[in-house]
């Protein structure tokens, strides 16, 4: 089954089709949970300024107040509403994670595809660079890059791209190597198509499904990585209500556990939801290859 047919099922409006869809691999319970949670956070990314109860940067109550009717997750050391800050956090973590993963996929896929298709010295150089990059533990390399670039969310994003692209380069190279031998590619060569056209029109589109699944599953890990970098002081700068940075503030106030609870729950919910969707996607698209 391909992505195209799966999506086509959604397009029909007949009851029978809907029933099929609901029972299909696309509508399994944990995926539905994932859709709901992700939709919740996406709505917040767009409209948090109208939905959050308070201004995330303003002191609006007693400092270090425990959870109450007015402040569901209490207030932090500056008297800011923790819930509002956690909700606003979606605006930082999710776009950065999304942009980082898209950029990693783009850079990694193109380099991997070129390596696989051209081969020879080009392949060797690209893949050795990828090997060296992957030989470092991801968090360590990301920390080193972020520390060298200086703190800031954009720099954290750049660090993540540098750490993450080789995964997609490897994946794409493997796909390209096998697709390159297929008959439709050989016919394209026979009719004299240019190498670039063959690569981008006849190979990459057929190699993209595993990348899509992997990217979805990695999105959760990237959200965690952004939060980790911020937790270590290498990501968001104060007073940005970023989840990792908020957990650092919570750790400083050991006896006020609510300060870390809200961003912690936010991270757990979004990572769990993305992982559920990724898992479901893998089964639905029947991708056997997971790196």
């Amino acid at each position: 089954m391909s992505a195209a047919t799966g999506i086509a099922d959604f397009g029909t409006t007949s009851l029978a089709a809907l029933r099929t869809a609901r029972s299909s691999a696309w509508m399994r319970p944990q995926m539905v949970f994932g859709y709901v949670v992700v939709a919740f956070w996406l709505v917040l990314v767009v409209a948090v300024q109208w939905l959050a109860p308070f201004d995330p940067l303003a002191s609006v109550g007693e400092r270090l107040a425990p959870p109450s009717a007015a402040h569901w997750f209490g207030t932090d050391a500056l008297g800011r509403d923790v819930l509002s800050r956690a909700l606003h956090g979606a605006r930082y973590s999710l776009p950065i994670a999304f942009v980082s993963i898209v950029a990693s996929v783009a850079v990694g896929s193109v380099l991997g595809a070129v390596a696989g298709y051209v081969g020879g010295i080009v392949d060797a150089v690209i893949m050795r660079i990828a090997d060296v990059t992957m030989s470092f533990p991801a968090i360590l390399l990301a920390m080193a890059v972020a520390a060298a670039l200086g703190p800031g969310l954009n720099n954290a994003g750049i660090a993540i791209i540098i750490v993450w692209w080789p995964i997609y380069a490897r994946l794409m190279r493997g796909q390209v190597l096998s697709i390159k031998e297929r008959e439709h590619v050989e016919s394209a060569v026979a009719i004299g198509a240019s190498r670039r056209r063959i690569l981008f029109r006849h190979i990459i589109p057929h190699a993209s499904t595993p990348t899509l699944v992997n990217a979805t599953m990695d999105l959760g890990q990237i959200v965690l990585l952004v939060a980790s970098l911020s937790f270590l002081g290498l990501g968001a700068l104060p007073p940005t209500p970023e989840w990792g940075a908020m957990i650092t503030e919570g750790a400083k106030n050991f006896y006020q556990p609510w300060i870390a609870a809200a961003p912690g729950l936010a991270i757990v919910s979004i990572v769990l939801a993305i992982n559920f969707i990724g898992d479901g996607l893998r089964d639905a698209l029947d991708v056997k290859a997971r790196r």
Partner: protein, 538 residues
């Protein structure tokens, strides 16, 4: 949350006590030693240590002050109740000449080192010269010293090129502790001019001490603990505890927990917010005392991007826009004071200086007068650290919120301490924030570091000007003593406050937390905590 845990603790203690009693009964020792005396109970102190060396003439840190004071003694000490009163130490008497360029000390004939040999004038000369010649972080304390003479074994004469009325207070600093020169030299120490390259006693000092203090070093394990044993030859009043352990416990929460469990007797860095957890715990005594530490923000117009700060009205507006009472509440849960000038409360010259006050409308008017009615943006690079209970990150976010009210946008850039040092000594930053704790009890250090004088402190390289008035006043203060000096320092404090290059934010109080049966826990202006004063029976 906590009451429940305390109850559990108590229950556990009861169970353990029962078990212990049972064990004693079973082994048939029930008739043995009664309650523990100080003799066999060690004193355990929990502290996040900032120690890198145990060599008293190389180190320069808060923990150094405490440890060096326990191991070594200085010629004089300072009265904890009144920092301008100097008390005898190794020297029983002293005298300064009329213009404060020459100081004569008469050593106490009863003073002996831990090996029983007498403390002699040559040891004082050797120790002072080694401090200077090692060119360590604390060597600046003796800057300007031209010579030390020892006319006889119990007389020391120290000379300076310029008047230095601060010298007696400096002599009480732990870094000027007197080392047994014979023992130290046998183990590789040198006080010669080339000591910085020839002295290799730093390793020896990690395992030994050679002082006349109430304790000697038993063991040191970096990042873990320092163990002290009572000096058997001590010539002063013998300390009550024969064994002392200072244990590395890095954060406030762990210190609190270990204190409540009875694992440690003294916890040195309990945060103000954790203080509430100790309320009603009878096994623990807490005291809140005034300190001389403070945090500040500095406005440095000559740094890149600092142009708007050139106008003193802008700096004054920033001072007026900060909600100081809110800050004390936010940063140290109310356990702090305001401070008017860079000379902290309790130091000479601080008494009459007006405290900063919050005046939003006044600040807006001043900014408009200076041509910044719409505000401006300025960046602030500061170290990420918690100093004396004040989290600088939190302080800067609070200041950022306050300044937003007058249209000034503060861009925060927290960095590691080492990176901050290279920023302020390199490219510069228009706004910064950090803390200051006294090295000794004379006000001159604050003018040297924060005054707009050309002496290489933190501020002057970035003010774009030099104040001749402050330069002259400092030189004058160093020739004076008594009330005259007090008046000069007050003039200096007012002048520095008017400059508004340095805006003190909070003067945090210090929280002393210790097991209720311990006595003698006090904050010492020269030496932080004097371990030799601690005993049982609170």
């Amino acid at each position: 949350m906590t009451p429940a845990r305390q109850r559990t603790n108590r229950r556990w203690r009861a169970v353990l006590a029962g078990a212990a009693a049972l064990a004693v009964a079973l082994t048939g020792c029930a008739g043995g030693a009664p309650a523990a005396t100080t003799g066999d109970r060690p004193l355990v102190i929990a502290r996040a240590m900032d120690l890198t060396t145990m060599d008293p003439q190389r180190g320069y840190c808060d923990t150094c002050q405490i440890i060096y004071t326990a191991l070594y003694e200085r010629l004089v000490t300072v009265d904890p109740a009144d920092t301008s009163t100097v008390l005898p130490g190794l020297a029983e008497s002293w005298e300064a000449n009329a213009d404060n360029t020459q100081f004569t000390f008469a050593l106490d004939s009863g003073a002996v080192f831990s090996d029983g040999s007498p403390v002699e004038a040559s040891d004082v000369k050797w120790s002072f010269e080694r401090l200077v010649n090692l060119q360590g972080s604390a060597s600046f304390l003796l800057a300007g010293m031209t010579g030390i003479e020892t006319p006889d074994e119990s007389t020391v004469v120290v000379s300076f090129e310029k008047p230095n009325s601060a010298f007696l207070a400096i002599t009480a600093a732990p870094y000027l502790g007197i080392v047994n020169s014979e023992v130290a030299e046998e183990n590789g120490a040198s006080a010669a001019e080339d000591a910085a390259s020839t002295d290799d006693a730093e390793g020896w000092f990690l395992e030994n001490s050679a002082g006349s203090g109430p304790y000697t070093l038993a063991a040191y394990s970096s990042g873990e603990s320092i163990e002290l044993t009572a000096n058997e030859e001590y010539w002063g009043e013998e300390p009550q505890f024969t064994e002392v352990e200072m244990k590395e416990v890095t954060d406030s929460s762990s210190q609190l927990q270990q204190l409540q469990q009875g694992d440690v007797d003294v916890a040195m860095q309990i945060s103000p917010d954790a203080l509430a957890q100790l309320e009603g715990d009878e096994a623990v005594t807490t005291e809140v005392v005034d300190s001389y530490n403070y945090t500040y923000i500095a406005l440095l117009p000559a740094a890149p991007g600092g142009e708007p700060l050139e106008d003193v009205r802008v700096r004054e507006a920033i001072r007026m826009a900060v909600d100081y009472d809110g800050l004390v509440d936010t940063l140290v849960a109310g356990y702090g004071k305001l401070q008017g000038s860079p000379i902290p409360n309790g130091f000479e010259g601080s008494k009459e200086v007006a405290l900063p006050s919050y005046d939003l409308d006044g600040a807006k008017d001043l900014l408009a007068e200076a041509g910044y009615a719409d505000g401006f943006t300025v960046s602030a690079t500061y170290p990420k650290l918690v100093a004396y209970g004040v989290d600088l990150d939190l302080q800067m976010q609070a200041v950022q919120q306050d300044l937003a009210e007058i249209g000034v946008t503060l861009e925060l850039n927290p960095v590691d301490f080492t990176q901050w040092i290279s920023t302020v000594s390199g490219d510069g930053t228009p706004v910064t924030a950090v803390y200051f704790a006294p090295d000794h009890t004379d006000s001159s250090q604050y003018v040297q570091y924060f005054g707009n004088i050309d002496q290489g402190g933190l501020i002057n390289p970035w003010t774009g000007s030099v104040s001749q008035e402050q330069t002259d006043l400092l030189a004058q203060a160093l020739t004076e003593s008594g009330d005259e000096r007090m008046a000069t320092y007050q003039e200096l404090a007012e002048s520095m406050a008017a400059d508004a290059f340095v805006l003190p934010m909070v003067n945090p109080q210090l929280i002393l937390a210790y097991a209720s049966d311990i006595s003698g826990v006090a904050y010492s202006p020269c030496c932080n905590l004097e371990i030799g004063q601690l005993g049982l029976g609170g």
